[in-house]
């Protein structure tokens, strides 16, 4: 393991100041389940590790009907799915955080870390995109917000500038007759990185027979998790039907730019895009209709 110093930041100001001073010589430690592996393998270099788990704003976890969900960047996955209120309100998010890497990983890994790691195959990001999440970032020049679909800019790279730190993620309160669903395809039943993953959310009309709006995102098939607005737009005003779902899934599939690597072949991934987009939409629809 490379040599580094360690500091546990007590305040947001301290963290921002350290990150600003050390630039790319510093890295942020949240759950550590990605970053420690990268440091150990030399895929990331750092002279200073800044532990942000002690900062109060990054540990927020509040969920109200009016304001929605504010999820601190350092909150571990297990805390999210153990919260009954959140689990009930955001099952689409729970889908994602409860299948990352096994129980041990979920005991430490954070949604914030998953987002900042910016893997194209990240499991939380398509779910966050489907749910319309917005990121709050703190930096030397103050606070700003970024839509989650704009947060990752390239494999392993985010929209964070020098000295900036992801503070929290905000999900709007779920509307009545809305539902979200996330799933992924992996060769085993746990522990694998997604070959393809998909998140979808839908909002149905009063009779639950027509789409009011929809959001679909695919992962592991582009340099970043992919939000495909046109796939969701194609459902607006359409009757809820297998045909409409398939059409939207095909649009999502067409937007994908998968590559072949050791986790999957491009053609396989392309095929899975259609399968998973369909299944994600069907799952979201079922939840919107009141089922689970």
């Amino acid at each position: 393991m490379q040599d580094f110093d360690y500091v546990s930041a007590k305040t947001l100001k301290e963290a921002v100041s350290l990150l600003n001073r050390h630039g790319d010589q510093a890295c942020v430690l949240s759950g550590g389940t990605d970053i420690l592996v990268q440091l150990r393998e030399g895929r990331r270099k750092a002279r200073l590790v800044v532990d942000i788990k002690g900062i109060p704003q990054l540990n927020q976890l509040s969920c109200t009907k009016a304001k929605g969900l504010t999820l601190g960047a350092a909150v571990p996955c297990c805390q999210i799915y153990e919260d009954k209120t959140i689990a009930k309100a955001y099952p689409g998010l729970i889908d994602a955080v409860s299948l990352i890497g096994g129980i041990q990983i979920q005991g430490r890994a954070t949604v914030g870390g998953n987002l900042c790691n910016a893997s194209p195959a990240a499991d939380t990001i398509p779910a966050l995109i489907a749910l319309g999440a917005v990121c709050t970032i703190a930096g030397p020049k103050g606070t700003r917000k970024v839509r989650v679909e704009d947060f990752c800019v390239a494999p392993g790279r985010t929209a964070l500038k020098k000295g900036e730190l992801l503070v929290s993620i905000h999900l709007p309160p779920p509307k009545p007759r809305s539902g979200a669903y996330f799933l992924r395809f992996i060769p085993r039943n746990e522990m694998d990185i997604a070959v393809v993953n998909a998140g979808a959310s839908v909002l149905l009309d009063a009779r639950k027979q027509t789409f009011v709006s929809a959001r679909i995102a695919l992962g592991a098939v582009a340099p970043t998790p992919l939000f495909i607005p046109e796939a969701g737009e194609a459902l607006v005003g359409k009757s809820v039907s297998d045909g409409a779902v398939s059409e939207a899934a095909e649009i999502a599939k067409a937007a994908a730019r998968p590559i072949s690597d050791m986790r999957g072949a491009a053609e396989q991934r392309r095929h899975l895009c259609g399968v998973l987009a369909r299944r994600a939409l069907q799952g979201a629809i079922q939840r919107a209709k009141g089922g689970n």
Binding site: M1, T33, Q104, G107
Partner: protein, 160 residues
């Protein structure tokens, strides 16, 4: 080389202090600095569970926690599962069911299963398999391990 850090923590109910470099994982600290070699290294990247410990009661991979991160925390290792009165029911059932062959994954499984039974005292087979998916065993095919955990769950709480 970075200066060593002085860490104060509680391990298996005892106050413990140690010195470690920031880059040493909790697993390295347990094994190399504290002589607690019961937690094993199988992969060093969170994929096998052989290094499992409880951190503030939470099941984690010790290879993915830095030694310095346990300052002021509580750690439970395999060495802390049995009590002075005897083996934990999980340990006893692992023996009765022959749920170990080479035994190197066993500490990780027992700590993980302890965490499961703490949270879900009477799990189903499906819940056991889901919980233990992060613990690899190459010798047993898991059958006897799952049976041992299910059997341990039936042992009355007073006997833990």
């Amino acid at each position: 080389m970075s200066k060593k850090v002085h860490v104060q923590t509680r391990i298996n109910g005892e106050e413990v202090e140690f010195l470690c470099e920031p880059r040493q994982s909790l697993l390295e600290v347990l094994r190399d600095e504290l002589g607690l070699t019961g937690s094993k290294e199988g992969c060093n990247n969170g994929n096998c569970g052989a290094c499992n410990v409880l951190l503030n009661g939470r099941l984690v991979n010790a290879c993915l926690v830095l030694g310095v991160e346990v300052q002021g925390r509580e750690v439970t290792t395999i060495e802390g599962i049995a009590s002075p009165e005897g083996l934990h029911p999980l340990q006893q059932k692992f023996l009765e069911h022959a749920a170990l062959q080479c035994g190197v994954c066993t500490p990780g499984f027992i700590v993980a299963a302890r965490a499961l039974l703490d949270k879900t005292p009477r799990p189903t087979e499906g819940q056991v398999r889901h919980w233990l998916a992060g613990n690899l065993c190459r010798c047993t095919g898991y059958d006897k391990i799952v049976r041992a955990v299910l059997d341990a769950a039936t042992v009355k709480k007073g006997k833990r």
